[in-house]
């Protein structure tokens, strides 16, 4: 069983500097299909920079990114998204003047590859968008303006847009930041459900969330991979404790 897993995404020698600071330094990384992987590390460890290189939001200085046997290193971000790398923003990024349904419909439209105005049926657009909203529990509020939602619900809308893209790999950048305790519990359940069909790459500061969700953890520090392993192994790792967990109260 364990031997049957396939790598869905990997990087080799991925690097990026910002003005002399090596934000991401020669990272080799392998993500198995179907897993929930958490990336943790102290502030400034390069976690967001690393996933930004994967999804193409920022360009790499060196190294490669592969998705399912395809080298996507040179592709622009929008093309990577279409190939199946979904990204949800650390800072909530939605369209406040549009309704929830219209927000998610944009993602559906992109997924249907109909940038054009000819071959997208209005019914299919609405059905798929509504389905994504139902999955995150916002189905009954689809007609409200996104800007009127409470913060926690805006985060859920972000996730709805993410799953409407039907990604192969969904990158969640600190999804539970700013959520209440009960909202966070709901989020954990939601991410477990999404993981049934999608590989999840999660940047997260809240260690309870990480321990509850992650099957494997990658620890980053100063742009490098410091350690990688099961939650139990990471907990026991002396380097990690020094660099990161030791600083936790």
């Amino acid at each position: 069983m364990a031997a049957m897993t396939a790598t869905i995404l990997h990087t080799r020698g991925l690097s990026r500097s910002f003005g002399g600071v090596r934000a991401v330094d020669n990272v080799d990384f392998d993500l198995e299909e179907g897993e929930i992987r958490a990336i943790i590390g102290p502030n400034g460890a390069g976690k967001t920079s690393f996933v930004s290189l994967i999804c193409g939001r920022i360009a790499s200085d060196a190294g490669e990114v592969w998705l399912e046997g395809q080298d996507i290193s040179q592709m622009p971000a929008h093309q990577r998204v279409r190939l199946g790398i979904g990204y949800t923003f650390q800072i909530t990024s939605i369209f406040p003047n549009l309704t929830l349904l219209e927000n998610v419909a944009l993602a559906v439209q992109s997924q249907a590859r109909t940038n054009s105005f000819l071959n997208l049926s209005s019914r299919r657009l609405n059905d798929s968008a509504h389905e994504a909203l139902l999955r995150v529990g916002l189905g009954e509020r689809s007609g409200e303006l996104a800007g009127n939602l409470a913060y926690g619900h805006q985060r859920l809308l972000e996730v709805a847009m993410g799953i409407a893209l039907k990604p192969r790999v969904l990158i969640l950048d600190e999804p539970t930041q700013g959520l209440s305790e009960s909202e966070t519990q709901g989020f954990i359940t939601l991410i477990r459900q999404i993981a049934a069909t999608t590989t999840i790459l999660l940047i997260e500061h809240n260690m309870d969330v990480v321990m509850a969700l992650a099957e494997k953890i990658t620890v980053m520090d100063q742009g490098r991979v410091l350690a990688e392993g099961t939650p139990a192994a990471i907990r026991a790792n002396a380097d990690v404790q020094r660099a990161y967990l030791g600083e936790q109260p």
Binding site: C55, R57, P76, A77, H78, Q79, V81, R82, Y87, F89, S93, I94, F95, N97, L98, T99, L101, E102, A105, L106, A107, Q109, S110, Q111, T114, N115, S116, F117, L120, S122, L125, N126, A129, S142, G143, M161, L165
Partner: protein, 322 residues
């Protein structure tokens, strides 16, 4: 509250009613005002083209005079020097606008914000100076005058004299109606929704898998075509093809018309152009300092109606206005 990819019935009705009212105006308006409105209709087409990129696309261009002039010269030069008839000349004008939109877009869309304004302004300046450089063919500011005999249109087996006031008005209205309905449909389409969303948050749209550059390029190409159609129509309806219409002033005017009527509203460009024409018309009959009055109107507008006339109406009373 479904997402509609087509205009709502009420907005479609409103637009058809506006067209019907303008049609009736051909027989109701006094001669002088019919002349004014026929010019307004053609220039409103120019403004609608501008509105597509500025209002809906969020791209502030200061060079749209070049697209208007591309149509003007594309049609004017082929008629004047090559003796083309109206239809192919009109096609040449639109083709010139499309080509220019694609070329300028491919280069200028590598920039954004202030840099985009400057780059488009410079391209337009190049176009303007080119029309002056080839004075032999264009006669510069003095311009070419298309005589009445070359301004006849073959349509549905009949010949129409485009210098006749009624024919001219109806031809202008036909073009206006076509572009108005086209705009109405395109902004509700998937493409239009993406364009508007890119205006709001381009980084978000990129990470939803949209090719932001291509989407904007298409907008600029369509805008170039519409503005060129207005320019070509201007040439054949009013018979004047001159460099004045390629000058920077004609890049600023559509911006003002659109701001006055309401950016990103379908009917705003018409209303803005109409109001501006009559403000100037009325002011200049009372004082030689009519530009002062225009300036005051604009200051008043910016202070109290920041969204323009229809934009304010939409924000306060009629949220369904497209």
């Amino acid at each position: 509250m479904k997402v509609r990819l087509l205009p709502s019935p009420q907005s479609l009705l409103l637009h058809l009613a506006v067209i019907a009212a303008l049609l009736a105006a051909n027989w109701l308006l006094p001669e002088y005002h019919r002349g004014v409105v026929s010019r307004v209709l053609v220039l409103a087409v120019f403004a609608m083209g501008y509105n597509l990129t500025f209002g809906y696309g969020g791209l502030l261009s200061l060079g749209h005079a070049m697209f208007f002039a591309a149509g003007l010269y594309g049609a004017g030069l082929t008629i004047y020097h090559l003796d083309w008839s109206i239809w192919p000349a009109f096609g040449a004008g639109i083709g010139a606008g499309l080509l220019l939109g694609l070329v300028v877009g491919a280069l200028a869309l590598r920039t954004s914000g202030v840099a985009f304004m400057i780059v488009t302004l410079m391209f337009s300046q190049v176009f303007y100076l080119t029309t002056l450089y080839f004075t032999t063919y264009t006669r510069g500011e003095e311009g070419l005058i298309l005589q009445q005999e070359v301004r006849s249109l073959e349509f549905a087996g009949a010949t129409f004299d485009l210098s006749d006031p009624s024919t001219r008005y109806l031809a202008g209205l036909a073009l206006f109606s076509l572009v108005l309905l086209f705009t109405l449909f395109i902004i509700r389409s998937g493409y239009g929704r993406a364009l508007i969303a890119i205006r709001e948050n381009d980084e978000r749209m990129r990470m939803l898998g949209f090719n932001v550059f291509a989407n904007r390029l298409v907008a600029l190409a369509i805008s170039g075509m519409i503005c060129a159609a207005a320019g070509a129509a201007y040439a054949v309806l009013f018979g004047y093809v001159g460099s004045t219409l390629a000058s920077t002033q004609y890049s600023i005017l559509p911006l003002l018309w659109v701001l006055l009527g309401g950016a990103a509203t379908t009917l705003g460009p018409l209303l803005g152009t109409l109001v501006m024409f009559y403000v100037i018309d009325i002011a200049s009959s009372h004082t030689t300092a009519h530009l002062l009055v225009v300036g005051l109107v604009l200051i008043f507008l910016v202070l109290f109606f920041r969204r323009g006339i229809l934009g304010t109406i939409r924000a306060r009373w009629l949220p369904w206005l497209p």
